[in-house]
């Protein structure tokens, strides 16, 4: 299987703090990885670097065979826009736009907004009938599904989720994880950053971070499609 992403000897240093310390990680195409670790372990920093929202202090980031660690901010933005879909813990929906419009915003900045496609994406996450609702009229789980639909809309090669279930109850957590399973089946690569073991347990591969270093990286035996 070809490699989607390679991190080579990545370090990120804030003053004295080594948020990431010489970390290397490969992600194959279609792989579902959970990055786990306690707070302060460097999860968020790693996620920002994978998501092309931050640059490492040293080391290389190779995405789809292309070294992007030396690219300009503008190039990074374009790259990230084309290849990656983001899912946030706080959902980050624009509160004055309704569900379908929030999805269309991602299309707008990517290529061309298309309401039909956006509605289709909402249908995929089971929210077709809530398309005209504002975020404040949606439950937390529904908001997160809108966020996932928005991440999906431009058919990214990688979905990057930061604590996607952190603000959700168990029922909604399961709905979200089911969607992830579905995406995985369809061949989308997933990187899920979490500290929740239940969320980590469902991934194909689990990477543990502690104090900016990878302490374990193993296949999940219990993974089932």
């Amino acid at each position: 299987m070809s490699k989607l992403l390679e991190l080579k000897n990545i370090s990120k240093i804030y003053g004295d703090l080594h948020a990431l310390d010489n970390v290397s990680l490969d992600v194959d195409k279609g792989e579902w990885i959970a990055i786990m670790g306690p707070s302060g372990s460097g999860k968020s920093t790693m996620m920002n670097i994978i998501g092309c929202m931050d640059k490492p202090t040293s080391g290389q980031v190779i995405f789809d065979g292309k070294d992007i660690s030396k690219e300009s901010r503008r190039k990074l933005t374009e790259f990230h826009r084309d290849k990656i879909g983001l899912v946030f813990q706080q959902f980050h929906l624009i509160n004055y736009l309704n569900a379908v419009e929030n999805v269309m915003v991602a299309q707008y900045y990517h290529s061309m907004p298309d309401e039909k496609e956006a509605l289709a994406a909402l249908e995929r996450v089971g929210l077709k009938d809530r398309a005209k609702h504002l975020p404040s009229q949606l439950s937390g789980g529904e908001q997160q599904r809108v966020c996932i639909a928005r991440a999906l809309i431009n058919s990214p090669e990688l979905i990057l989720a930061d604590e996607p279930t952190g603000n959700l109850d168990e029922k909604n957590e399961n709905i979200v994880l089911d969607i992830f399973r579905q995406l995985h089946k369809e061949g989308t690569s997933l990187v899920v950053v979490t500290h929740d073991p239940e969320v980590g347990e469902v991934a194909q591969r689990i990477v543990r971070l502690e104090h900016g270093k990878i302490v374990s990286d193993k296949k999940n035996e219990s993974f089932s499609d």
Partner: protein
């Protein structure tokens, strides 16, 4: 219009409509600013005109005197007056002076039109009433004191003259004629009874005359010989007045128009001061309201830093975020400018009605100026915070909390 433009409009409209309370707060600030701007602009341009008519309480600012030996005739007077535009003329009063004797004391009669005299001498204080027609007189306070005349008295004004061949004596009663015992020449003591309706107090030389109607003077002196002097009160500035005076002097052979410098020179100096007062007040208030609008817009933008971070995380380029936010800001500025122009007009009208009891002149040109200023200020007020907001690192804004 492609789908991208449609989405752009959809987002801007959604932001304006669904974030109503916030937008109203911002719009209110802009409307208040635009209202003050357009209101003060209108007042600024209207102050000279409005104040100028207040300054007419100083009375006449132009006088006509005969340029040759002949008196001013009515036709010449009207020709002279027509050199002013009709809305400039507040009023004019012709004066004809004649010497007379009252109680055998010399006095001067001034023939005027009682209806128009208060237009050119609004400062006259009359104890009693203004005469309303023939047979009545207004007596200056000094003459009244000197001759012992009181309101309600009836005095007899006498015109003594030598009767010659040309004198038309048909209307003069016989008892008024007498002949000089030595020379045998025929004289006439033509008299006219006048009821004193009021005493005139001005504190100036006007108190030295007895005022009667022009018709009474014609019948007492048996001729309508024209006027000695005409007082004109015109609502115009010194430059315009001297221009009109020159035109009259060059056109008319019988009238010489002169500015009452004491009034015109002082008026233009005071008016200039007043206008510059309103101007600088407008400028100061404007600068401060602009800063107010700017701080409000900054607050509105700062509030949305997270949203800007999200848009960046979704792959928006800085330029497209700036375009969206500026479009919102400019729309607000435009709407605020339009509302402000309308409200400003009512504000100026309110001030004008209360201060000058006359309506303000509507100046259509000020509407586009106000709207343009409002759009410009709001645009600038948005641009600066947006520029700094798009520089944020989306990862920082979106992380945690």
């Amino acid at each position: 219009m492609n789908k991208k433009q449609k989405m752009f409009i959809r987002m801007v409209v959604a932001s304006l409509v669904r974030r109503r309370s916030r937008m109203i707060v911002a719009l209110l600030a802009i409307v208040v600013g635009a209202t003050i701007l357009s209101g003060l602009e209108l007042i600024y341009y209207d102050v000279p005109r409005q104040m100028s008519s207040q300054f007419r309480s100083y009375g006449a600012n132009v006088i006509f005197t005969p340029s040759g030996d002949d008196n001013i005739q009515r036709e010449d007077l009207e020709k002279g007056i027509s050199e002013f535009s009709s809305d400039e003329i507040e009023g004019y009063t012709p004066y004809r002076y004649e010497n007379t004797k009252i109680h055998n004391m010399p006095a001067t009669l001034a023939g005027i039109d009682f209806d128009s005299v208060l237009k050119t001498s609004p400062y006259w204080h009359i104890s009693g009433n203004m005469p309303s027609g023939v047979g009545q007189a207004l007596v200056g306070a000094k003459v009244a004191e000197n001759l012992g005349i009181k309101q309600g008295d009836t005095v007899s004004a006498v015109n003594s003259f030598e009767v010659t061949e040309e004198t038309d004596t048909s209307d003069i009663p016989a008892y008024e004629f007498y002949s000089d015992p030595e020379s045998g020449e025929l004289y006439c003591d033509h008299s006219l009874d006048l009821e004193v309706t009021g005493i005139l107090e001005t504190g100036g030389s006007e108190e030295e005359y007895i005022y009667v109607s022009l018709d009474d003077l014609t019948s007492l002196y048996l001729t309508d010989r024209g006027y000695d002097i005409v007082e004109v009160s015109a609502a115009a500035m010194q430059d315009r007045l001297s221009q009109v005076a020159e035109t009259i002097n060059s056109k008319s052979e019988t009238i010489s128009a002169k500015l009452v410098k004491r009034v015109t020179a002082s008026e233009s100096s005071v008016l200039t001061k007043l206008q510059s007062l309103v101007f600088i007040v407008t400028a100061v208030v404007l600068v401060l309201t602009m800063i107010c609008v700017a701080t409000t817009m900054t607050a509105v933008i700062t509030e949305r830093r997270k949203e800007i971070g999200l848009r960046k995380a979704l792959g928006a380029l800085n330029s497209s975020i700036i375009a969206e936010f500026m479009c919102e800001g400019l729309l607000l500025g435009g709407v605020g400018g339009i509302l402000g122009s309308v409200l400003g007009y009512y504000f100026a009208q309110f001030v004008s009605m209360n201060v000058f009891s006359s309506s303000i002149t509507f100046r259509p040109l000020l509407i586009p100026i106000t709207i343009a200023a409002s759009v410009l200020v709001t645009g600038l007020a948005c641009l600066i915070p947006i520029k700094s907001a798009v520089e944020v690192d989306p990862a920082l804004v979106l992380k945690g909390e």
